[in-house]
Amino acid sequence: MTLLALIDCDNFYASCERVFRPDLRTKPIVVLSNNDGCVIARSKEAKAMGIKMGVPWFQIERTYLAQGGQVFSSNFALYGDLSGRVMHILEGMVNNIEVYSIDEAFLDLQHMQANSHAYEFGIHCRNIVRQWVGIPVRIGIASTKTLAKIASHITKQKIGGTGVLCLRQQHHIDHALKNLPVHEIWGVGRNLSKRLNDLNIYSGYDLMQSDTRFIRDKFSIVLERTVRELRGEQCLKIQSRAELKKQIIVSRSFKKRINDLEQLRPLVSNFAVRASEKLRHEGQKCLQVSVLIFTSPFSNHAQYKGFHSIQFSSPVSDTRSILAGVKKALNNCFRPGYSYAKAGVVLSQFSQHSIIQGSLFDEMDQSIEAKQDDGLMRCIDAMNAKQAQVYYASQFPGQLSSTSKMMTSPKYTTNWLDLPIAN
C-alpha cells in the first residue's frame, strides 16, 4: 500500500507575519490581496471574529480595526523566503516531494510502513519546521492524496491536538468520511456538491460508496478518480518539481480602473516582461502565450472577462517575441466600453528543446520567432537584476507592481535595511 503525507502550513501568510512580531502572537491578523482589495489570509483569532475569506477590506476595515485587529498588505518577499525554507527542510527528509503550493507539499512516505513510524515522523516534521523556521504546520497521513487532504483538514478542526493525523485504518476513514460534507472534499466544489446532493450524495462516505461507473458517466473521470482515492486506491501520484511546472502566470490588479487599450497595453507589457524573465530563469521556452483581462467583480458596471492565446510555431524565450505575441493576444481579447481592474499574462506549453524546427506554413509569425537572442536576454536580465533598468519600448516605465502596499511589513529576510532588531 502507498503512504503519503500532506504538510499544510497553518494560516500561512498570517503565521509568516508573526515570525518576527512576537507581540502579535495572540492578536487577530488579516493579510490583504495585492492592492489591498480583499482578505486573503486570516489568523485563527481573525477567523473567530467572523472575518470571511475574500471579503473586501473596505467592508470590514472599521469594525475590524476597532476590535484591535492587525492588518497587513501582502509581503510576498517574506512569504516566499519562509516557504522556501519550509520546503527545503521537507525535501531533506524524504526522497520524493511535490511542492503543491506556497504552503502545501505532498511527501512520499513509501518507506515508512508502520503506522507508529509515520505518526512519529509527522510529529518530528512538525517540531523541526516550527523550531527552525517558526511556522506551525499540520500533517495528514494516508494512502492517497485525497485522503491525506481530508486528514489534514480534520486536524484543523481539532483544537489543541498534535496537528498530526494518520488516517489509515478503514473504520477511522469511514468515520471521518461520514462526518465530512461532500463539498469539503478536494476537487469537489460547491457547484458539483449541489448536483451530488440531488443524487442523495451528502457526505464523503456517500461519495465513496457510489458506483465508479455511474460517477464517470454522470460526472467525469476526474470525480471517478476522487471516488477511487477515497477508497484508498492511489490515482494521483506525487509529481516532482520538474514535471509540475507547466505554466507561468503574472497577473495584477490595477490601482485604478482602466478603460482604453493605449493605457492597458504598457501594463500588460510589464507582465509579459516579468513572465519572460521567469521563463528564462527556469531555463524554459514556451510555445504559447495568453492574455487575460478582467473587469472588477465588485463594481456595478458591465462585466467582461477576455482571454486569447497565441501559438508560436517554434519555442521562444526572447522577451521581444513574447511581447509581440502578447500584443496580438491583447488586441484580440480587448473590448472597448469596459472598466478593466485586472490583467495577466500566461506562458505555457514549455519545451526545453533548443532545436528550432523549420515551420512551413507560419510565414507571418516567422518574424516573431526569428528574434531569439539568448545572449542579449542574459545580458538584459543581468542588468535588470542590479539597479539598472532596461525597458522595452511598449512597457510602462516603473514598478511592475501596481499595488499601493501601505501596510506591508518589512522584508525581514531579504533586505539588509529591513532586518529585525534586537535590543
Binding site: F20, P22, R25, W132, V133, G134, L419, I421, A422
Partner: protein, 143 residues
C-alpha cells in the same frame, strides 16, 4: 589600546587563494595556465552559516552586549536549529520584543547583558519568554 607593528605585507605573504584573484590578468589570446586550478572564492556564508534554512540575520540596537564583542548595529547570525545551552548567547522574545543576551539557566533563569551599565533580566513568573535561536556569530562593521 596598544598597537603592535607586525611589518608590511607583500603579495608573496598572502595565501594562495587570495593571490589568485589579485594577480591573474584577463587573458585575451592564450588560456590561463591557472584555469585547471580554479577554486571557488572564499565564501563568508559558508564560514558563518552552518544551517542556512534555519539561520536568520538580526540587527542589534544598543550596547548591552559590548563585552561579548557585539556592538551597536552589529549583525547577528542566529541559528534556530541549535539548542540553546547555559551560557549561550541567544536572541529571545521577551514580552513581545526581541532581545540579545547571554542565557543563564542555573541557578535561576536569567538573561545576562555583557555590559556593567545594564541589569540582568530575571524572568518572572508569567512573563512571556521564548528563545528564538542561538547567536553563532556577530558581524561588527567599522567603516
Amino acid at each position: 589600546m596598544t598597537i603592535n607593528y607586525l611589518g608590511s605585507i607583500s603579495v608573496d605573504d598572502l595565501p594562495a587563494t587570495f593571490t589568485k584573484f589579485f594577480l591573474e590578468p584577463v587573458s585575451v589570446g592564450f588560456p590561463s595556465p591557472a584555469n585547471d586550478y580554479l577554486e571557488s572564492p572564499i565564501d563568508l556564508n559558508k564560514y558563518l552559516i552552518k544551517n542556512n534554512v534555519a539561520t536568520f540575520l538580526i540587527r542589534v540596537s544598543g550596547e548591552s552586549m559590548i563585552n561579548a564583542n557585539i556592538g551597536d548595529q552589529a549583525i547577528l547570525i542566529v541559528d534556530r536549529s541549535l539548542k540553546p545551552r547555559h551560557g549561550s548567547i541567544v536572541v529571545a522574545s521577551l514580552d513581545g520584543e526581541f532581545v540579545c543576551k547571554r542565557l543563564q539557566l542555573k541557578p535561576r533563569l536569567c538573561l545576562l547583558p555583557e555590559n556593567p551599565a545594564y541589569k540582568p533580566i530575571y524572568v518572572q513568573h508569567g512573563q512571556d519568554l521564548d528563545i528564538m535561536g542561538t547567536v553563532t556569530a556577530a558581524i561588527n562593521k567599522f567603516e
